[in-house]
């Protein structure tokens, strides 16, 4: 159907000059004629559906912008957004594109300083709340699924405006009890870990929950005391994500995906021209043609029962590895032959979360040819023989009183020599195993709420560990087993989910869950800046690469399903890296 309408469009374009391919350009000023650089200019049809694209560019030093080769301007709209500014002219937020008599398509904007509550990221509301253990635990536990405050959190908080502090605290505690149930609703279609199969009392039991009684106490108290109850006026809030790294060549493409899917991660391999997504909700991989985004094809994971694919990485052989949240199975998919290989020798309840990656950000083998995985269900590490499928488990530390699944062993990275695998735990620490003996060779506890998550390693064997709850990043020397540096990220409430080292640029990209922005940490200079994203509720997990162009790709996956945008996102930083 989409293809037919595309064809009709092409045919009608032959006779109608209106919908010829066009360049949109314009200038952004401050009203006094001064240019406003780094304004996000986004073009789409104003009501995006799966397969539609939003294209975003940024105004340059002169305030000029240009979007080249728009397929058609018919039905298309443009909007301008810059954090810290309000659009004065034109008056409507979205402006239809209109060609002038000579065929030129222009739209100028006038901006003035001001804070627009509608376009600011969630994290700015956290900024006015006191820092410390309460905020860190609230971010770690709540922003694991959605932004803090999400739209629904804001709706809820508004209703608390006239309550006493005591009642606000008790309301937020009830909300955490409610979340114990919601956790059971986030599994894939057909999930056995769902309200359909688990009885109410079990779901509500703090001992079986990701939210234990201590979480309820600390987070309920913190939100009750400090959470704002009015979100209509952002005047006086501060937007600080560090230097803005965009320029006139920066380009962002958001390819919109079905809202009924929960596509949390994306993988690309030079072996395949397509984008591959992990659709946790629908138990499938999801293929999109970047040159024709309306071409979206589902590949159900061939397995008896639900799988919930959630982690997706390529390897040097052109395979895509898929770790599943359910079924205790990991799959390897060949995007060229479309053949699957199932690794199903994991013990029951293991739940492989991450496969250890190397400095190329690819699934890699250790010195004995084995892969390493984090088993989030059991608080264990596992090695996997990719030839035989044999799995071996290894114990890792668990704090007294903590439960294995709540410890949440998470990210993993393999040192360059293949002799050590490093891992994180969300409520635990950072450790390393000797890949030959399976012995723990390094361990460091993290204070509650820090939340070390997905990690990256570089060619010097330095490890980058984002701290989700406190908005920091630790850099470890994995050869010497010592902390080199703790980096405060620009926004302590950004909820940095992942670090990805970029060999071409020698930078670390950081995917944030709560700031509608990505960060770039320059390894040589230590400087940090950001690239803002065009959508709100732009909940990020991993970032990966197009290894041919050096462009970045990520995915929006705000939970629950439908509560935020569902899109693949390409980011060309506009820095012309040398790709080799």
């Amino acid at each position: 159907m989409k293809n037919i309408s595309r064809l009709l469009l092409v045919v009608s374009c032959l006779i109608a000059p209106l919908c010829q391919a066009a360049d949109l350009s314009g200038r952004v000023t401050d009203g006094a004629g001064n240019p406003v650089p780094q304004v996000m200019i986004s073009v789409d049809n104003g009501n995006v559906q799966p397969g539609d694209t939003t294209v975003t560019v940024f105004s340059d030093e002169q305030g000029e912008y240009r979007i080249s080769e728009l397929e058609s301007i018919e039905g298309m709209t443009v909007r301008a957004v810059k954090a810290g500014y309000l659009v004065v002219e034109p008056e409507s937020t979205r402006v239809p594109l209109v060609a002038s008599a000579n065929g030129e398509v222009r739209q100028d904007f006038v901006l003035k300083p001001g804070m627009d509550a509608e376009t600011l990221p969630a994290s700015v509301w956290m900024e006015q709340m006191p820092a410390g253990a309460g905020r860190e635990l609230a971010l770690l536990q709540c922003a694991s699924c959605h932004q803090v405050p999400s739209r629904k959190m804001r709706d809820f908080a508004k209703h608390l405006a006239y309550l006493s502090e005591e009642d606000r605290i008790s309301s937020w505690k009830s909300m955490i009890q409610y979340m114990r149930i919601k956790v059971f609703e986030i599994g894939p279609d057909g999930s056995r870990v769902s309200p359909e199969y688990v009885d109410f009392e079990t779901m509500m039991n703090p001992d079986f929950s990701l939210f234990n009684l201590h979480d309820e106490e600390v987070i309920g108290e913190y939100l009750g005391k400090h959470m704002p109850t009015d979100y209509s006026d952002a005047t006086g809030l501060a937007y600080d994500q560090g230097p803005n790294l965009t320029n006139g060549d920066t380009l962002i493409r958001e390819i919109h995906l079905p809202k009924t899917s929960l596509i949390r991660e994306i993988a690309l391999t030079p072996a395949s021209p397509y984008l591959w997504g992990a659709d946790l909700q629908k138990n499938r991989l999801f293929r999109v043609d970047p040159d024709n985004p309306a071409d979206q094809v589902a590949y159900p994971v061939p397995f008896e029962g639900p799988t919930g694919p959630h982690t997706l990485n390529d390897d040097a052989d052109g395979f895509i590895w898929d770790a599943n949240i359910e079924g205790d199975v990991v799959h390897r998919f060949d995007p060229v032959t479309e053949e699957w290989k199932a690794y199903d020798q994991f013990p029951e309840g293991a739940v492989a979360h991450d496969i250890a990656l190397n400095s190329s950000f690819q699934v890699a083998k250790d010195i004995n040819g084995k892969l390493w995985l984090t088993l989030i269900g059991k608080n264990k590490m596992a090695s996997l023989d990719p030839e035989t499928g044999a799995v071996e488990e290894f114990d890792i530390p668990l704090a007294e009183g903590n439960k294995p699944f709540r410890a949440a062993v998470y990210g993993a990275a393999l040192r360059g020599d293949g002799k050590e695998v490093w891992f994180t735990q969300l409520t635990g620490g950072l450790g390393a195993l000797d890949t030959e003996t399976g012995e723990l060779v390094f361990w460091q506890d993290y204070p509650e709420g820090k939340g070390p998550r997905r990690i990256a390693i570089d060619d010097d064997d330095n490890l980058y560990v984002t701290l989700f709850g406190s908005g920091e990043m630790d850099i470890f020397d994995t050869r010497e087993h010592k902390l080199l540096k703790r980096v405060a990220l620009p926004d302590p409430n950004a909820a940095p989910y992942s670090a990805i080292w970029d060999r071409w640029r020698n930078v670390v990209w950081i995917g944030n869950s709560n700031a509608d922005a990505i960060y770039r940490y320059d390894v040589a200079s230590g400087e940090i800046g950001h690239i803002p994203l065009p959508s709100t509720h732009a909940y990020l997990r991993m970032i990966t690469f197009d290894r041919k162009t050096g462009n970045l790709w990520t995915a929006y996956s705000h939970m629950p399903i439908g509560s935020g945008p569902s899109s693949f996102v390409m980011i060309d930083p506009g820095d012309n890296p040398v790709i080799n």
Binding site: H159, L163, S164, D167, Y178, I181, E185, P195, D199, F200
Partner: protein, 143 residues
């Protein structure tokens, strides 16, 4: 706790046994489940509590339909949870022709009636989805 699970199983089993499709298929997994439940039923201390009247079947079905929208986390027909029971909502609102008010409350959230804890908003739900369900809640018997 165990009693409740068994009750739920029995009610579901009875509903499926009453439905034509289950009658037509002779050896379905549903029926295996039903006989399982019947066997386990002997453990229950107070079997006299299980009176499957027509009303209770209707109520179980209502609870099931509402559960699919996630309502069960806070509400049940008779069991006190985070929010009020459906039956107490019916008793309070059925005189007042309050269907529109309740639909609005589900979509936008709100509070102040049953205690300090407000209801969370459900912006993804529509009046079309909610109207028939609210009608069935308001039709629950009780005083």
């Amino acid at each position: 706790m165990k009693l409740k699970i068994l009750l739920a199983t029995v009610i579901v089993a009875l509903i499926s046994a009453c439905s034509p499709s289950a009658e037509q298929e002779s050896q379905t997994p549903d029926q295996v489940g039903a006989s399982d439940a019947e066997e386990r039923l002997t453990d229950v201390e107070t079997p006299s509590a299980i009176k499957v009247t027509e009303a209770s079947v209707i109520e179980a079905q209502l609870e099931d339909d509402l559960s699919k929208l996630g309502c069960f986390a806070c509400h049940a027909v008779d069991e006190a949870r985070i929010g009020p029971t459906y039956r107490s909502i019916a008793v309070l609102y059925r005189q007042a022709d309050a269907k529109a008010l309740l639909v609005n409350k589900v979509i936008n959230g709100g509070g102040g009636i049953w205690g300090p804890m407000p209801m969370i908003s459900h912006p993804h739900l529509t009046p079309e989805i909610l109207n028939p369900l609210i009608e069935r809640i308001l039709a629950l018997p009780g005083e």
